[in-house]
């Protein structure tokens, strides 16, 4: 549906325009949602108006002034002092037609550090992504009422924290931009590996995250980390079709049918990351994208350039202090220098207690023990991982790994 695409693109621009006039984020956001719903019912019947953005802005503005009028009327009824009514409908601001930047400002607002990440995610999807509450609720497998409440609490927080609708000041911008990228990446991950439930991939969220990253990238093309994040998501998402089998079962990277990978998406990701890396100021998203690119470009699993991946993980490991990165680094070490070296690093990580009882630690150790042909230990670790994961497809996969090795031992 063509106009649906258009609506999603226009949603943040219209919201920005309304916010410039009325400032009340919560009410403005509701008004824009109503305008979007009106468009979704009217446009298919009557055709898309000549200036769809102006149409939406006008409908949303009307909702806003209706709302304000009824608030004022209520106040007037409630208090005799009618004149003290504080609301005045401001004149439309003719000068500000900068829908482009509004989208970015909105992003800053929705990903503000005052919000919890789950609120920021929900708000970004609604206010910037133009998704309905029902769609967001569906994507996160929660009842619509719960999601509506999460969104309205997020708006309340914005109101209480007095977060202004404008670009963050220069000093803050870097940190605030990182928060935006983090929220986009979380949306992608939620879509790519659902943390719970049967459905391993919820493609819509991944696609939405990529769309949002594209929006930010077009606004700030000179930022290498945005390009890195966009590339990372494209290069990861390109493997989607190969990643699960017909029964939604997990297929690990080295067993995937690489002919199912999306070559066009890989090409785009590789181009993006290659250009970003030459610009200097290498960051974590760029490094992860570079690693994904090395995997994607290997014709078969055994062609994978592991020394290259190891080099990239070593840089990443120095840059960020993240136990998951340490774990992945250990896998790369094992692939280049043998499983014993990798297992040593995992033992060191475990001793720090940072990933204690995390299923990934057991899963990776199971894999490396299997490489080292220590089947009994591998089985124990796969089973320990299965008992700890909250992903059903992953649990099934780990159970199958353990069973496969047990079958081998029985022979």
């Amino acid at each position: 549906m063509q106009f649906e695409h258009l609506l999603r693109e226009l949603a943040p621009q219209v919201l920005g325009a309304i916010l410039r006039r009325y400032r009340d984020f919560a009410a403005a956001e509701d008004a824009v949602q109503e305008a979007l719903v009106a468009a979704a019912t009217q446009w298919p019947r009557e055709g898309v108006p000549g200036n769809p953005r102006a149409w939406l802005t006008q409908v949303a503005s009307r909702r806003m002034s209706d709302q304000i009028r009824s608030d004022v009327a209520r106040r007037q009824r409630e208090t005799a002092a009618a004149l003290e009514a504080g609301y005045v409908v401001p004149a439309p601001d003719p000068g500000s037609d900068c829908g482009e930047d509004d989208t970015l400002i909105l992003m800053y607002m929705c990903c503000h550090p005052a919000l919890t990440t789950s609120s920021a995610i929900a708000l970004t999807l609604r206010a910037v992504g133009g998704l309905t509450t029902a769609e967001i609720a569906h994507a996160f497998l929660v009842p619509e009422g719960t999601m509506a409440q999460r969104i309205s609490r997020a708006k309340q927080t914005i109101k209480e924290s007095d977060i202004p609708f404008r670009m963050p000041v220069r000093d803050e911008r870097h940190g605030r931009l990182r928060a935006i990228l983090h929220v986009i990446y979380l949306i992608f991950n939620e879509g790519y590996t659902a943390s719970e439930g049967e459905q391993l991939q919820r493609a819509d969220l991944a696609a939405e995250a990529i769309r949002l990253a594209r929006v930010v990238y077009t606004k700030l093309p000179e930022d290498a980390e945005i390009a890195g994040l966009l590339a990372l998501m494209l290069l990861t998402d390109a493997r989607r079709a190969g990643r699960t089998g017909p029964q939604n079962e997990v297929i690990p990277l080295d067993k995937q049918d690489r002919s199912l990978w999306d070559r066009a998406q890989i090409a785009e990701g590789v181009k993006l990351i290659s250009a970003a890396l030459t610009r200097g100021a290498v960051g974590p998203y760029q490094l992860q994208a570079a690693i994904a690119a090395v995997h994607d470009e290997a014709v078969t699993a055994s062609d994978t350039d592991w020394p290259q991946i190891l080099a990239l993980y070593s840089v990443l490991n120095k840059m960020v202090d993240n136990p998951m990165v340490i774990l992945n680094h250990a896998v790369a070490v094992a692939m280049v220098h043998g499983p014993e070296e990798g297992l040593r690093l995992i033992a060191k990580l475990e001793a720090t207690g940072r990933l204690r009882d995390h299923h990934r630690l057991y899963a990776v150790r199971g894999h490396l023990l299997e490489m080292a042909e220590q089947l009994t230990g591998a089985i124990e670790n796969y089973q320990a991982a299965a008992a700890r994961t909250a992903s059903l497809p992953e649990r099934n996969y780990l159970l199958a790994q353990a069973a496969r090795l047990r079958d081998l031992q029985r022979r």
Partner: protein, 132 residues
């Protein structure tokens, strides 16, 4: 009428020694296939309200509030306790229909494809006030 069908897992040594962790790969796959198909059929029949699998009890905690209302967690359980590991909520015409569905879940294949005939607890879900 809505019912919840609850599937449990025993954690004592004896039960563990027969548990899914000990089955051959083929039998595990068959069991998983059965469960996926079972959910699909319920959905297709318009009887499924929701179905959830729970993480295994290894990480389960018992939580109580202390006198200040702060959570006190207890992670050590007595052996041989039975834990909920998954449930279905179904909306069906009669209790008999709920029992039929429960029996199908109970007969999920185990080692060698032999039906497990595991116990499924069936409980009716309270409804709203009767219509006037």
């Amino acid at each position: 009428m809505k019912f919840i069908l609850m599937m449990g897992m025993k954690t004592d040594e004896e039960s563990r020694s027969r548990g899914i962790m000990t089955w051959p790969q083929e039998d595990i796959q068959a069991h998983i296939q059965f469960m996926l198909g079972f959910n699909k059929q319920l959905k297709a029949a318009g009887e499924l309200v929701s179905a959830e699998g729970l993480a295994w009890p290894d990480q389960a905690k018992l939580v109580r509030a202390d006198k200040d209302g702060a959570p006190v967690t207890d992670g050590v359980f007595p052996e041989s306790k039975e834990f909920l590991i998954g449930y279905w909520v179904i909306d069906v015409e009669s209790a008999e229909r709920a029992y039929q569905i429960a029996a199908r879940a109970s007969a999920a294949p185990g080692p060698g494809g032999v039906p497990l005939n595991m116990p499924i607890e069936v409980r009716q879900i309270m409804s709203g006030p009767p219509e006037m």
